[in-house]
Amino acid sequence: MTGKELRIVGRRVRKVDGIELVTGQAKFTADMKLPGMLYGFARRAGQPAGKLEGVKKDEALKIPGVVDVLTAEDLPGPNLIGVLPPFDQPVLATGDIRYAGESVAFVVAETREAAKRGAAALDVRITEVPPILTVDEALGDGARKIHENGNITFSRKLIKGDADKALAEAPVVVENTYETSFQDHAYLEPETDLAVPGGDGRITVYASCQSPFHLRGLIAANLSVPAGRVKVVQSNTGGSFGGKDDVAVEIGILAAAAALRTGRPVLVAHERGESMVGSNLRHASRITITTGATKEGKIVARKIKIILDGGAYASESPFVVMKALIHAAGPYLIPHVFVESTAVYTNKTYAGAFRGFGVPQVTFASESQMDELAAKLGMNPLTLRKINALRPGDATATGQVFKQSVGLLQAIEILEKERLPEKPEDPSDRYLYGTGHSCMLQGISNGAEGVDVVGATVQVSQDGSALVGLGLTELGQGSRTVYAQIAAEELGIPLETVTVRQVDTDSVHDSGPTVASRSTTVGGMAVLKAAREVKESLLDMAALMLQTDKKEIYFQDGFAILSKNPDARIPLREVATAAYWTGHPLMHLAFSKAPEAKYDHDTHQGSIYIAYNFGAHRMSIRIDRWTGEVRVLEHLAAHDVGKVINPVGLEGQVEGGSLIGYGYAHMEKIEESRGIIRNANFADYAVPSIKDRIPTRTLVVEEANPTGPYGAKGVGEPPVAATAACFANAVSDALGVRFTRLPVTRQDILRALQSGAATHGGDKNG
């Protein structure tokens, strides 16, 4: 490491791009107005299953302002997108209609209104087919095949030891089935892409997106041009959470294809309804778990079956299947584990990546069952977790052993030290109080899910300032600030003099997708390496200037300083200028490559991830027996993050992730009937508002991770799962009844009280 105290890493710093965002100066894709710009709007199938017989364009083309209409035949390329080959999703429908939000034609016009009118005027003929709307129907004997190769999208097994045998012999066994529903990302800015044809045969796509290189590859393929012809620029992105990948590709291709045909810029800006109906959701799930334990509370085996409703297309389903598979047994030392994880096609909006990526579903199920086991054993739920918690040197469910950076026990102990909030006197007996716990783990970075390399550049200018570039995107999570801190720390320059550039595919190295809590860990490491390489070059220069060995020099506050005599110092700007004149390199491209995952594909035994984030949460709530209203009195979120780079950013991530988890567990529910989403708006789909914020307190464990910069590991996703799980446990504790379905809404709570299911506080007078 630096051999010195850290000066910028670990300090509370404001987001480097925060001021522009909160003052409204930051421009988003839809803020761009270009001369001659057209507006694109897709006509959607409007029914969940069918055969597209044909689209007649004539009436649409007669609408004033309509310039062009594209159907599948008009796309120059294969008309296929997806995350993992073989791709299964058309950009515009060809034969089969597989969900109601499927785009069948794309209208471009002088105004958005005209485009919409054109879309409405199209003559679209679809022969209805009975839709398959549940996983049971999809898996039933003789079910119609939604895709050629059947209705199973992807299925994998994890086998460690002999779970059946161990369960048969276990003195205490609990079993239950849990369900979760779909969730929408609900970012402030709906998906937006703008394609601009260049005079040079190239095309530029400005996109609100998560993974620009993914866009570039698929746009180029579907335009049938080499990837280098396409430049994708990530605009300021108003949230993504996993949601601006597939759909950003879809609308990017449509906009680009139309831009090439018309020779004019084409903007596609989704409205909220389109965003909810026509882009991926979090998978709904059904999870059955059987846990066996000794009378003392040592878990001996878990057997788990996960079924994920993946909707119409594969999207990220294969990876979500794996993530759920690997995490389902929880952060515990369990000798015998069997998990089967399967994603299924249905005629609904497709499911894909969403902050947590399968882990919220399984954590809710697994942690609910931990409480059930504790109740059966008559044991304190936190003690049960502590007994079984993974410790350094223990084997995870996949048999991977981490010798360090396993801080679960410390996280639990922090919670134990915190006193429970006091219950106020309540003579009216109106309120019920409950506390829930959850423990979890979340694999950091792609691991077994794919390549895990980031390329980053650091460039120092003659004025001593630095420019950082890498292919990972800022989505609100604060990664730019983290990269700036790392570069400033390494180069010994003030934070304000570091700029982290916007991602465009012409100028940065493909760094893989911005997913899986990997930005700080893998991206940060690449920035650190690149900064160190530039620093070496500057040190060589400074050594010449100070006429000493470079070991005698350190950089701080923008100066090259002689260790022996700190008064002997040269401004780095002079060093950089001299380096420029003498040809000492001022820019480096460095790679951080995570150690490769090695595992058996049939059993998923082996090393999967470079690190895990471990978390332990506690939530105390008060329930109003009269209205079912839940008030969160306290929420403690302890996570082992290895090393905090920016405490403010960390708190932001934990609080934001927790609120998504809370919405997931309590408020948000996609209401669908006959394959149509009925609440595709924020009036009826209850995403939490600012007033619904819960009092989350971030507690930190720092067990250094050798694969991350300064020991850091990511924290973007983990709070979602932990919060949802401890909320459900808190409600179950308050009411004395187990809720096995998320969300647990206030209606559900009132119903439980009324029906007498609740053993606490049940309604006496009906």
Binding site: K116, W626, T627, E671, A683, S689, L750, R751, Q754
Partner: protein, 283 residues
């Protein structure tokens, strides 16, 4: 194409409404949403729009010394919140309508004329015994708000008529009880709401008003029930709340929709009424 008119005077507006069979447009926060069909499709306006938000008569606010109010139908809700001395019940209700951005454009007239069972200003205005000043081709008329709202989405407005202002008679200072239940704590339409006002002197109920929103086709207010409380002691009312509750149970007839179930609405409404009658009355 949508045809929209922007009359400068009330007279002009009334004649335009008559000639074009137009739809009055105020803040548009209900109208634009209602006329939009499926996600992303253009709004369907079968008739022209007549923008009434800039008519001086609809923007006027008067507050008499005696304590009565006349509030223009076209005043944005956020402007109403800035008025000193606005009846507390109305302020409380408006403060929980939508979000700041919605309140900056939404109007009281729109909330009333939209006549949604979940319109949040209605329980307050009914408890305040407000009435509607209406202008039409045949001149002006006054109607109590109670009679003005005739059903879900229905008002007593005749074709070509406009709501000009809302008149609120002076009311004695009263203790306010307001509970709005939405799917979240801000920017949520009501699943249901209960608004109560009470005046107590020497432990005796002098005045009591109670309205339940989103729990029936119209806001529920039961004059007999209210009257039966007046003149009785606080503890008598509390002790006898079951009788009162059964009166409300008769009238609370909620529906199940995408925001809530009928069962939840009914049960919770009655509980909140109970809370008002038993707990909130005691000082």
């Amino acid at each position: 194409m949508v045809t929209a008119y922007r009359p400068a005077t009330l007279q002009e507006a009334l004649s335009m409404l008559k000639e074009t069979d137009g739809i009055p447009l105020s803040g548009g926060t209900d109208l634009m949403v209602r006329l939009r069909a499926a996600p992303g499709t253009p709004a369907r306006f079968s008739r022209p729009l007549v923008y009434v938000g800039s008519l001086p008569e609809l923007l006027a606010v008067e507050h008499s010394e005696g304590g009565s109010w006349s509030i223009g139908a076209g005043v944005p809700l956020s402007d109403l919140l800035k008025l000193k001395g606005l009846p507390e019940a109305l302020g409380a209700a408006i403060r929980e309508i939508g979000s700041p951005a919605i309140r900056n454009t939404a109007t009281l007239g729109g909330n009333i004329c939209n006549a949604s069972p979940a319109a949040d200003s209605l329980p307050a205005l009914l408890c305040l015994n407000a009435s509607a000043r209406i202008a039409g081709p045949g001149g002006e008329r006054l109607q109590s708000l109670e009679d003005f709202i005739t059903g879900p989405g229905k008002t007593a407005l005749k074709s070509g008529e406009l709501l000009v202002s809302i008149l609120i008679p002076p009311a004695p200072p009263m203790k306010l009880f307001y509970r709005k239940i939405g799917t979240r704590r801000a920017n949520a339409l009501s699943k249901l709401s209960v608004l109560g006002m009470v005046k107590i002197e020497n432990d005796t109920v002098k005045d009591l008003r109670l309205a339940v929103g989103a729990a029936a086709p119209k806001v529920v207010r039961i004059p007999e029930a209210e009257k039966s409380c007046i003149g009785r002691s606080v503890s008598q009312v509390a002790a006898d709340h079951h009788t009162l509750l059964s009166m409300y149970r008769e009238k609370v007839r909620p529906i199940t929709d995408q925001r809530s179930t009928a069962g939840y609405r009914e049960r919770t409404a009655l509980r909140l009424i109970e809370e008002f009658l038993t707990k909130e009355l005691s000082p």
